[in-house]
């Protein structure tokens, strides 16, 4: 299969080009600014090769697997015509992909530390673990809710910017009332929730839905699911900080 192979080679070249800026930046700072030799050159080279291979496989896999699956499911849900199942699917997808997200687990543990030092909760192993778990569930529920609202918006054709601006007004109003320790974490949690596998799936789902529903434009209505998923965690985490 020479065609398959040559397209693979093209993706590989693109991955190399994608990574070149990081390598240049690191080399520049290492040699020119910090003026130190690279500590472990061997593992740097091996690691870089792994990253290039990984990115190449990932991009090929997107085209073969994640995009078609997301779109096929969007079409199937549109044909089935049951809003209830579609919304349940949206919530489940958002919740399940977030609860196990490693970046979120790390942030939740750090947040528990901050809360304990800020005397928001009792300082103890059990109290911290409980707080971190509560935070993770809160964020996962908020992302599930976000995808649900986002899908409902595509189906109904509501304009995105009113909803998002209203959401950020909510953030604005809540900020002065939230405990100071939680604000940075809340704002950050909006950014860490959307993982590398969720984003392509959710994007394909949104675009597929917008294409299969009459009167929707995939550009105007199909995008926007990720925007909700970055907004609702801020609101939910600040609320969590205010209630606990």
């Amino acid at each position: 299969m020479p065609k398959q192979l040559s397209s693979f080679w093209n993706v590989l070249k693109e991955s190399l080009r994608d990574l070149a800026p990081i390598l240049l930046v690191i080399a520049f700072f290492q040699f020119v600014v910090v003026k130190a030799p690279i500590p472990d050159l061997g593992s740097l080279i091996v690691g870089t090769l792994l990253v290039v291979m990984g990115l190449t496989l990932f991009v090929r896999g997107l085209e073969l697997g994640l995009f078609p699956i997301g779109e096929a499911m969007a079409y199937a849900f549109a044909r089935k015509g049951s809003l209830f199942w579609l919304l349940l699917f949206a919530f489940a997808l958002g919740f399940a992909t977030t609860i196990a997200e490693p970046a979120l687990i790390a942030v939740a543990d750090e947040a528990a530390q901050v809360a304990a030092e800020g005397k928001l909760i009792a300082d103890g192993e059990a109290a911290r673990a409980g707080y971190a778990l509560g935070l993770r569930v809160t964020v996962a529920v908020s992302v599930g809710f976000a995808i649900l609202i986002g899908v409902l918006r595509i189906v109904k054709g509501w304009p995105l910017h009113y909803l998002i601006i209203a959401g950020y007004l909510g953030v604005l109003v809540m900020t002065p009332f939230a405990p100071r320790e939680i604000i940075g974490i809340a704002y950050d949690s909006g950014g860490v929730t959307t993982s590398t596998i969720t984003v392509p799936l959710v994007t394909a789902l949104g675009v597929g839905l917008a294409m299969s529903i009459k009167g929707r434009n995939p550009m105007v209505d199909g995008f926007g699911l990720i925007a909700f998923a970055s907004l609702t965690p801020i609101i939910f985490v600040m609320a969590y900080g205010m209630i606990i």
């Binding site: 990081i22 690191i26 991009v59 096929a72 970046a103 940075g184 926007g224």
Partner: protein
């Protein structure tokens, strides 16, 4: 042997991340939709590629880029580097001292965003859906510039110790104003690009930079001031993408207006 152990750990962690997604897709497909997927074998191959690709990607980052990037973040923020050989360390150093930190923040923000897999995915989809009006590279560079500016400004905030809310609120006011004037077609994509910029590659390096700064700048607490860089990295791409669209719209308008001014027939140029 420990190498093999690490590999196994990364593979297991990736399986754990992917499993809930596969479970939900499979469950709904079998129980609710009750339809066979078209090209099932192709799709499964793709899923396997994604899974293997993620595992290799993460392992490579852990092995090569993260240790070096984190070390660099610590070296650049270390007082010995900032106050080369000066014995008297100011209790409240001038923010201009941290020149290399801002450069590093901007460059590392830009370069990690270019390599961010989820941004590549969204950019591919956007080019396909817009019929080429939004190009993969145009979007990625616009987003990366936004992240670069955002993270540099975020480090400045940590160094000066000004409250996070003011910056973020001001940023969102700009977003609201831009939303009113930007081409409608770009707005959802711009909002989405705020969320996709910060994942696998960017977050660990940027977090190390933030915590490194907050623990070495006098008067900052890592707990209170170390957070917030991710928020900057999610906000400024929205502004950058809408700005990019507004700029191209403005250029198209000017090009259209020009031939008329000269009294030529529109469309004769080019």
């Amino acid at each position: 042997m420990s190498q093999l152990h690490d590999w196994l750990g990364v593979f297991l962690a990736t399986i754990r991340d992917v499993l809930p997604i596969v479970g939900i897709l499979f469950g709904f497909q079998v129980l609710v939709l009750r339809q066979p997927l078209p090209n099932l074998r192709r799709a499964l191959t793709g899923f396997f590629y994604v899974f293997l690709g993620m595992a290799l990607f993460l392992e490579g980052l852990e092995q090569a880029l993260f240790p070096l990037g984190k070390l660099m973040a610590h070296q650049l923020t270390a007082p010995e580097f900032i106050f080369e050989g000066e014995l008297a360390r100011a209790a409240n150093p001038a923010w201009t001292r941290y020149f290399w930190v801002y450069c590093f923040a901007a460059l590392i923000g830009f370069s990690t965003t270019i390599a961010e897999p989820s941004l590549i995915a969204v950019a591919m989809k956007a080019e396909e859906v817009s019929g080429g009006a939004v190009s993969v590279w145009g979007l990625r560079v616009a987003v990366a510039l936004g992240v670069a500016f955002g993270i540099a400004l975020g480090t400045l905030r940590i160094i000066t110790g000004t409250p996070l809310e003011y910056y973020i609120i001001a940023g969102y006011v700009v977003v609201v104003i831009q939303t009113m004037f930007a081409p409608r077609i770009i707005v959802p994509l711009a909002y989405d690009s705020g969320g996709v910029t910060t994942s696998t590659v960017t977050v660990p390096l940027v977090t190390a930079l933030g915590l490194g700064l907050a623990s070495t700048v006098p008067g900052r607490s890592p707990m209170l001031d170390g957070f917030g860089l991710i928020a900057f990295a999610s906000l400024f791409p929205i502004i950058a993408v809408m700005g990019y669209a507004q700029l191209s719209q403005w250029r198209v308008r000017r090009q259209r207006a020009k031939p008329d001014e000269k009294g030529q027939q529109p469309g004769r140029e080019e």
